[in-house]
Symmetry: C2
Subunit: 215 residues, 2 copies
């Protein structure tokens, strides 16, 4: 046989420590997000996470000494991923469908999906988790910011308007609330149609809003 510290006949690729650690952290973080989505923050245990990630308990402890560390990291990661997807899905829109109404519709799809759900749970959970709170506190601001950027880029006629940012902060709040309202009944009562109706109204009132003069 070859020398012991190097390849045997059927060896697995030699992986650097940084890679191993990174992959492990990623698996744990992804599993955490998945567990929050499926079980909810409150019912999710570290056992559920290691089971879902198919990882040992020790690995978890090694990379994330405490549960709060893990959840905070997961929240951070989710937010980043979300911001990326955000821009991607906007820029992926067919040019001829790039109306404000369509843009808002795309924006809404981010509140309707699993990630939005997880974000909701984490916002509430943050109230009793200082570490998590520090991650979640800037979220509304950040999202409004990013969407305002994208809107300004796609609809130059809105670019300069001072109240665009405020309007999109309001839209974020509105969508969060709508998602929240849909939680108990899992959107059985055709909330989608209602939201689309709201979108029309918002769009129709948008000129009024971005032109708003506080004086």
């Amino acid at each position: 046989m070859g020398h012991h510290h190097r390849r045997a006949s059927l060896e697995r690729a030699r992986v650097s420590q940084a890679e191993r650690a990174g992959a492990m952290r990623a698996r744990l973080i992804d599993a955490t997000i998945e567990c929050v989505a499926e079980l909810g923050y409150g019912r999710m245990s570290t056992n559920d996470i290691v089971r879902s990630a198919r990882v040992s308990r020790g690995a978890l402890a090694h990379h994330f000494p405490t549960k709060a560390d893990l959840v905070s990291a997961a929240a951070q990661r989710l937010l980043e991923r979300r911001v990326e997807d955000f821009r991607d899905r906007f820029t992926a829109m067919a040019p001829d469908r790039r109306t404000p109404a369509e843009a808002l519709s795309v924006l809404w799809s981010f509140y309707d999906d699993t990630g939005g759900l997880v974000l909701l749970e984490l916002m509430v959970a943050a109230r009793h988790n200082r570490e998590l709170a520090e991650v979640m506190a800037p979220v509304p601001e950040r999202i409004a910011e990013v969407s305002a950027d994208v809107f300004a880029e796609f609809f130059p006629e809105l670019a300069g308007r001072p109240f665009l940012g405020e309007a999109l902060r309001a839209v974020h709040a509105l969508f969060s609330g709508l998602a929240l309202n849909a939680l108990p009944d899992g959107d059985r009562s055709g909330r989608g149609a209602e939201v689309r109706a709201f979108l029309k109204i918002i769009v129709s009132a948008m000129p009024q809003i971005v032109a708003f003069d506080p004086a």
Copy 2:
């Protein structure tokens, strides 16, 4: 001494069973709401509740066999109380301050306070608690309904408008979302002022909204 089954010299008033049971249930429910507010739904245990209510564990088990029963009852009670307070605080407004803007401001105060917080937690918790979900599902509808009634009563010029209900459903969602956003940082960043700014915008856009024509 008098007969054993009736008054001694320093007796406590004889209380009917229905009264006792009712009082006990009320204490437990109130303690539950308080605990959700202080500890959050996830961290609240039945032990916390009986401690807060200064009641024995057995009493809890007797009146609410399972934790879900108790929480559902608490949610129900909170909603009822909230609807009452709602109408009260509206009708208590000085007649000369009865503007839509002020009305919305009063409405907002219900999302800003402890009860609103608890409702938020329960909405999220309802996702994994069928019993609670059945209580929480109608909440948004109910609140929008009540506020629409009050608005129609106070501002007759809005009464007939078909989109008043929709608008107030949207307002409910918006306020819920704003309250949610304030959770992580406990409203350190002067969210109150922001909300007041939003209110002005909403009011200015309101005519546009209630007059909205989907055609």
